[in-house]
């Protein structure tokens, strides 16, 4: 399938090496290709080829069972426009992305700012901030299921202790999506903390000292010096988190299975459901490609906007 929901969370990319000017000689070309060929071939077979095959699949009718896969042109793509559940899934995906991406960036920035200092046990705190990334999605889902359980959950016990009524959370069509947003922000905060922490440490101390001598208060210094210098980190997180948010699957599968009443059915969950529960693989592939185009466009726009307004990089 085009989209692998279980994308590995990468570390911050290293700054690009200065481009090598000297052209490689002929012998070195062969050696170079030979060295990279295992990776290239493997990526070709297991990465590129399936991507192209699913493009083909999106123009066919396939139930995965029978060998006949008749060509149906753009039928699968047209079907999307008339599918109320798919339109609902788009809405849910947008709501989720609009809450998850800024939420994760904001929480991550605040935590990173708090951790960007030298106090005792700082490594311990930093590890604690990152450790949520090491929790598998399924375990995370089960933990939150029980934490937010309507009758036996800790969250409701805490609410009751301060006199507030119990909430159904994941069992309620109107609340489930917000619980998933909160859960995934919790899970991804460690990632944005690492990125922001690296960026914060790249902010020259002299600038802060100079501003302090000029009488700038800590908050003013943070706003006028630190934040503008975080441009590249912001762009990276914005793009990366958006791509991941649009591909939300594991967390939904582990907690609500798209429910209650499809309230958490997002695009990738729905296409999985169409392919492997309803045996409509062609339609699922078409949805995956539609999502691919959307991600491509959004990422392009984000790059462009950030280059124009994002300041300093």
């Amino acid at each position: 399938m085009l989209i692998t929901p279980d994308v590995e969370k990468p570390v911050t990319p290293a700054p690009p090496h200065p481009r090598r000017r000297r052209r490689l000689g002929g012998g070195e070309t062969v050696t170079g290709w030979t060295l990279v060929s295992p990776a290239v071939i493997l990526i070709g077979i297991f990465g590129l080829l399936p991507v192209l095959m699913s493009l083909q699949l999106s123009f066919q009718h396939s139930d995965l069972l029978t060998p006949e896969t008749p060509w149906v042109g753009f039928d699968n793509y047209r079907k999307m426009a008339d599918d109320p559940v798919f339109l609902e899934a788009i809405k849910h995906t947008i709501v989720y992305t609009a809450l998850f991406v800024p939420g994760t960036m904001l929480v991550g920035l605040l935590v990173a700012a708090a951790l960007n200092r030298s106090v005792r046990f700082i490594s311990l705190y930093r590890t604690a901030a990152y450790i949520t990334m090491a929790v598998s999605t399924i375990s995370q889902g089960i933990i939150f299921l029980w934490l937010t359980d309507r009758d036996y959950g800790l969250v409701n016990a805490a609410l009751n202790a301060i006199g507030a009524p119990s909430q159904p959370f994941l069992a309620s069509p109107s609340q489930a999506m917000y619980v998933i947003v909160a859960m995934t922000i919790w899970g991804w905060t460690g990632f944005s903390v690492i990125v922001y922490l690296a960026a914060l440490q790249g902010v020259p101390a002299e600038l802060h000292e100079a501003a302090a001598i000029d009488g700038a208060k800590p908050f003013t210094r943070f706003r006028t010096i630190t934040v503008p210098l975080l441009g590249p980190a912001n762009l990276f997180l914005l793009v990366w988190l958006t791509i991941n948010a649009l591909q939300l699957f594991d967390e939904v599968y582990a907690t609500t299975r798209g429910g209650p009443l499809r309230a958490t059915t997002v695009i990738v969950y729905y296409l999985w459901d169409q392919a492997f529960v309803h045996f409509d693989a062609g339609y699922a592939a078409a949805m995956a490609y539609a999502l691919f185009v959307v991600i491509l466009v959004i990422t392009g726009v984000q790059f462009r906007l950030t280059r124009r307004f994002g300041g300093t990089s």
Binding site: I41, G259, V277
Partner: protein
């Protein structure tokens, strides 16, 4: 020159990759067949012992077993079939039969099982129906279970409620559940899986049948679950979930046995597989209640699963068929059932009082489940659109239980969706 050297280098790497992917290959010696199954723990051990015994008694055949999670086996088998490396035998859920029937490599067992030494009629009727799609028989029964009430005796005694009896109507069931519900203790009378999947749907279906309704018309052309009977059955769920709040809606489908075992839920409608997860409570098992005045009587739903065979050439096909025939013969059925506590898949074994006594001694309540197999009167329709029908019905049931919709409206809407799906193919 450089090009050619590059090509050779690439080819060498490709050859290495392919060699790593390949392996195996045909040679003389015993015919090897691959059996994919989802047995773990006790079931896994008993199953492996049976295979070892078969391999010892049949030196010309080597059965290789491979564990594969039941929930995911269809996806894996589909991939394997496409890749030309299908297993010879795979354990498949009975609800997949209509879809499996379309895979060309699946062996049609109709001509085999008509031979008298298969004793095909000895399998329970629900098992045979779940393996039959039109003229084809796509598999041989591997497992059967059914739903009944499992209840916590202590909670009933504490609440002063008489335990479930075979005379219970759904009104009695509802009244008891209400008395067994105590919000202060976080205790509920009943729990139902409520994710809207087939797990939700198959809890509703016996109620629908008992009320005198059915899922589809006899020719499988239209949905008829939005009948008066369908509304009556769904209204019980509505009253318990919305009015009485005696029904815990388990949106995860995972909490049932855990909450039951910790005494938070007084009754579960479930199958024999959950009994081993209730070590901390004193439970008993009773058949499902009836609807007063309905001719439906006691019913339940069976979830029979099958061994499905794939054609990988005549020799392997014959070896696979022979193995499954041996595996599902009364003697092996008895061994497996006694070893694992699973219900016997053959009537001759299920009616054997000595087997029942031993089963019940090992896991109390199992005998009731075996006897309850006789209450299986109907099965889910074996049509390839069943996943769509189940989906529509599941959403309707959940909408009603969450108090979002009225039973008649919800069922009518679901019936429309089901009709559309049925008309499509």
């Amino acid at each position: 020159m450089i090009r050619r050297r590059l090509c050779i280098a690439l080819l060498a790497v490709l050859a290495l990759v392919l060699a790593a992917c390949g392996g195996g290959g045909s040679s003389s010696g015993p015919t090897e067949i691959a059996v994919w199954h989802g047995y773990q723990d006790t079931e896994g051990e008993v199953f492996k012992k049976l295979i070892a015994q078969y391999n010892q008694d049949h030196p010309d055949v080597k059965v290789n077993e491979l564990y594969s999670s039941n929930d995911l086996v269809l996806q894996k088998v589909l991939t394997a079939v496409r890749g030309g490396s299908a297993p010879d035998v795979a354990y498949m859920f009975g609800s997949w039969s209509p879809n499996i029937a379309q895979i060309p490599q699946v062996v049609d067992m109709a001509e085999y099982v008509s031979e008298p030494d298969w004793q095909w009629d000895d399998f329970y009727p629900a098992e045979r129906e779940a393996a039959t799609v039109g003229e084809k028989i796509v598999g041989v029964p591997a497992l059967v279970d059914n739903l009944a009430i499992v209840y916590n005796k202590q909670l009933f005694a504490e609440a002063g409620v008489a335990p479930p009896s075979p005379d219970w109507t759904w009104a009695d069931f509802r009244a008891a559940a209400a008395k067994l519900t105590d919000p202060a203790k976080g205790q509920y009378g009943w729990l139902i899986p409520a994710d809207g999947s087939e797990d939700t749907v198959w809890h509703y279906l016996p109620m629908l049948w008992e009320a005198g309704g059915d899922i589809l018309s006899p020719d499988n052309s239209t949905a008829v679950f939005n009948s008066e009977a369908g509304v009556e059955a769904l209204t019980v769920l509505q009253q318990m979930a919305v009015t009485d709040k005696s029904l815990y809606l388990d949106t995860t489908n995972e909490n049932g046995p855990k909450l039951m075992n910790s005494g938070k839920v007084a009754m579960l409608v479930t199958g024999p597989w959950d009994l081993s997860q209730l070590p901390d409570i004193d439970y008993d098992v009773q058949v499902m209640p009836t609807f007063a005045g309905s001719p439906g009587g006691h019913q339940t739903i069976a979830g029979p699963d099958n061994w499905v065979m794939f054609d990988n050439g005549d020799a392997k096909k014959q070896a696979a068929v022979d193995f499954v025939k041996w595996l599902s013969a009364p003697e092996q059925v008895k061994t497996f059932s006694l070893g694992t506590g699973d219900l016997p898949i053959r009537q001759s074994v299920g009616n054997d009082q000595a087997v029942l006594d031993t089963l019940n001694e090992n896991v109390p309540g199992t005998a009731t489940f075996v006897e309850n197999l006789n209450n299986v009167e109907k099965v889910r329709p074996t049509v390839e659109q069943y996943p769509d029908i189940s989906d529509a019905l599941g959403q309707a049931i959940v909408a009603v239980m969450l108090g979002k919709e009225q039973p008649a409206d919800a069922l009518n809407k679901a019936a429309q969706a089901a009709d559309a799906a049925l008309a499509e193919k």
